[in-house]
């Protein structure tokens, strides 16, 4: 009897302590496990299905849901929810992190019949969606690379890695971060490790394999590493407010968000081979980005990203207090 009472008192005392000791951003210190991969993926599908119906009530949202579109917080039902005309839930690349309850969907959709590319991150707590973060690439007249919506997702996204190919969470995050370190102030120095056949799909178009599109980086150099060695992305003054909310150890996937800041203090620059490049725009701008990495053997194998322009230096409401 005494032991039981003491245990209850100890539990009561221990609970508030555990709140302060829990991982950053986590509601509870209790490890998850109530929503496995299949469960999380079903939430991504449910979200996209509700979006297709333009009806948030069809999605399993929690009472308090936080929603952003291109780094602006707004009520669910606003933004693309009001303008979407078609989206196929089955057409997306889906990733899931059972440890944090995050799941992501990358794909394309139509807005009043116009093609857009879309990245969605959803957080699931207690079988309800508590967070929905979206990045949408639209054709607005800005110089943005843009696919046709017909390019397939790399089959590797769905494949589980062997134990030998897997890496622990901190290492996967570090590899993704090393990619951003390479892109930032890209002057030819490469911090990340790439598979020789590394590929990248950005706004639905390959930017590592020549497609005939002169706006694509692949028209200058093919492959991931070769571009960075040339310093194609020199215009990135900084990659800011980096977050890594989804890490899938089993499949070697990291989904990250950040801003690419193009200060454009210069409007032309030289590649490491001496060629001169001109910046697409002459004035300061930023890109709001959601980017997924497939990491095999600690090396980047394929990348898929969605991004669009935002005012230079814009902040993400998700990153507040984390910088």
């Amino acid at each position: 009897m005494f032991r039981t009472v003491l245990a209850a008192v100890s539990l009561a005392l221990a609970l508030p302590v555990s709140v302060s000791a829990q991982s950053y951003g986590e509601r509870t210190a209790l490890p998850r496990g109530d929503c496995d991969r299949q469960c999380l993926e079903s939430f991504a599908t449910a979200y996209v299905s509700a979006l297709r119906a333009k009806d948030p009530s069809r999605a399993p949202f929690a009472d308090r849901i936080r929603f952003t579109e291109n780094s602006v917080e707004m009520p669910v039902g606003e933004g693309l929810w009001a303008s979407v005309s078609a989206i196929d839930p089955a057409d997306g690349m889906i990733a899931a992190d059972t440890e944090t309850g995050n799941t992501a969907w990358f794909g394309h959709a139509y807005e009043h019949g116009n093609l857009i590319f879309l990245g969605i991150r959803i957080k699931v707590d207690d079988k309800k969606i508590t967070e929905a973060e979206t990045v949408i690439a639209r054709r607005t007249g800005m110089p943005l690379i843009f696919g046709t919506g017909k390019e397939p997702h790399h089959p590797a996204w769905k494949q589980a890695l062997t134990p030998e190919q897997q890496r622990p969470r901190p290492r996967l995050r570090a590899v993704a971060d090393s990619y951003f370190n390479t892109v930032e102030y890209n002057d030819g120095q490469v911090f990340a490790h790439f598979k020789p056949d590394c590929s990248r799909l950005e706004n639905g178009i390959s930017t590592t394999a020549a497609t005939g599109n002169t706006a694509s980086s692949a028209s200058v150099a093919e492959g991931c590493e070769a571009q960075f060695k040339l310093g194609i992305y020199r215009i990135n003054k900084q990659l800011r407010e980096r977050r890594y909310p989804l890490i899938d150890v089993e499949r070697g996937i990291v989904v990250a968000m950040n801003f690419f800041d193009h200060a454009n203090t210069f409007d032309e620059y030289k590649l490491t081979d001496g060629r001169t490049m001109k910046t697409l725009l002459k004035w300061p701008n930023s890109l709001s980005i959601m980017e997924a990495f497939k990491i095999v053997d600690g090396e980047i194998y394929t990348i898929e990203a969605v991004f669009d322009y935002v005012p230079y230096g814009m902040h993400s409401p998700w990153a507040e207090g984390k910088e």
């Binding site: 579109e69 291109n70 780094s71 602006v72 707004m74 606003e78 933004g79 693309l80 009001a82 303008s83 807005e111 009043h112 019949g113 116009n114 857009i116 639209r138 607005t140 007249g141 800005m142 110089p143 200060a263 454009n264 203090t265 409007d267 725009l281 002459k282 004035w283 300061p284 709001s288 935002v310 005012p311 230079y312 230096g313 814009m314 902040h315």
Partner: protein, 345 residues
């Protein structure tokens, strides 16, 4: 990235003939009739009371404000923020984003200065706005620059830059001019008090918001609106209306796609010229790809996606009527909040 700091000493320097002297005068009179200890106490009190006031020399008059605005534009072109008198703290935004002075346009600027289209100062609020051509390297854009000056020092700097390729109307920035009729002094009978002018400018925005044919303000015949040097007769609908005067387009409901005009501010008012600087954010959700005008006709919206616009417009008011609006309008992500309103709507 450079850190914003003032080139002036951080300790406050009281200006001659301002609150300090009036405090001294009070203290001096008191000192003749009471003890020196008491006088010191009263002097301290008088200084404390007088310092925050906006009395004459503690402020920057219109000419001082206009000069500071010109100096700020020149300082950007020279990439030298240290030459300006900064308050500390100071706040700087470019297109709604708080940034460090030295960053953004300070880094991409060309060496050209202007030309200035027009500048308007308001000594009562300590605000001044500069409209004109701004440059990034060799590329011109439309710019509206607002400064707030406190005690002769710049405490706020706000740049609204309408640059080519954003989804906005875009004319020729090098031909950015205002008609002289817009800035001429008004006849005495046509002048209205500051508060009234702000109400009228607000009603103009209210008419444009959810425009359904009702006019919530009076518009002069021939009233015109321009954005980034382009005459506008609708909220970028796929239509060229025959009558583009303000009353006609608002009666037709051609701005219906503008669902909300929020975070309205009116920091500069000129009673003599009937001018109000209205800064606001317009939300265009594009819920539908078409909208109906008041006569039942359907028109397509030009941009079929949600977007917002940051608009700085100079509104000319004669008597109780809106005569003209000249705006610099930049593109923003849909519903992006502004850091300048205390309690964002």
């Amino acid at each position: 990235m450079m850190r914003a700091r003032t080139s002036q000493p951080r300790t406050r320097t009281l200006q001659p003939n301002g609150g300090r002297n009036s405090g001294r005068a009070v203290a001096s009179r008191c000192a003749s009739i009471i003890s020196s200890v008491m006088a010191a106490a009263i002097l301290s009190l008088a200084l404390a009371l007088a310092s925050p006031s906006a009395s004459a020399a503690d402020t920057c008059d219109e000419s001082c404000l206009l000069k500071l605005a010109d100096s700020a534009v020149e300082a950007v072109a020279a990439k030298d923020f240290r030459r300006l008198p900064w308050a500390d703290p100071v706040r700087f935004t470019e297109n709604n984003v708080p940034l460090m002075i030295g960053d953004a346009w300070w880094g991409s600027t060309g060496s050209n200065v202007g030309p200035k289209t027009f500048a308007l100062a308001d000594a009562e609020t300590g605000n001044v706005v500069w409209f004109g051509t701004i440059w990034d390297h060799d590329e011109p854009s439309f710019g509206a620059i607002r400064l707030k000056v406190s005690s002769g020092k710049i405490s706020e700097l706000e740049l609204i830059a309408a640059r080519k390729r954003w989804p906005i109307p875009f004319g020729d920035p090098k031909a950015f001019t205002l008609p002289s009729s817009m800035t001429a002094p008004l006849k005495e009978a046509d002048r209205r008090p500051r508060e009234r002018l702000i109400d009228l400018a607000d009603n103009y925005l209210a008419t444009k918001q959810r425009n359904n044919g009702s006019l919530l303000a009076d518009f002069a015949p021939g009233c015109a609106m321009t954005e980034n040097g382009v005459r506008i007769g609708s909220a970028e609908a796929d239509i060229e209306p025959k009558a583009t005067d303000c009353a006609s387009v608002f009666r037709a409901g051609l701005f219906a796609p503008v669902e909300r005009i929020r975070d309205r501010r009116f920091p500069v008012v000129d009673v003599e010229r009937g001018l109000v600087l209205a800064i606001s954010v317009q939300d265009l959700p594009a819920r539908q790809k078409t909208f109906a005008t008041t006569d039942g006709k359907k028109f397509a919206v030009k941009r079929e996606y949600p977007m917002s616009r940051l608009v700085a417009e100079l509104v000319r008011i004669e008597g109780d009527r809106i005569v003209r609006s000249e705006a610099v309008a930049a593109s923003l992500p849909y519903r992006m909040p502004t850091p300048w309103t205390q309690r964002p709507e």
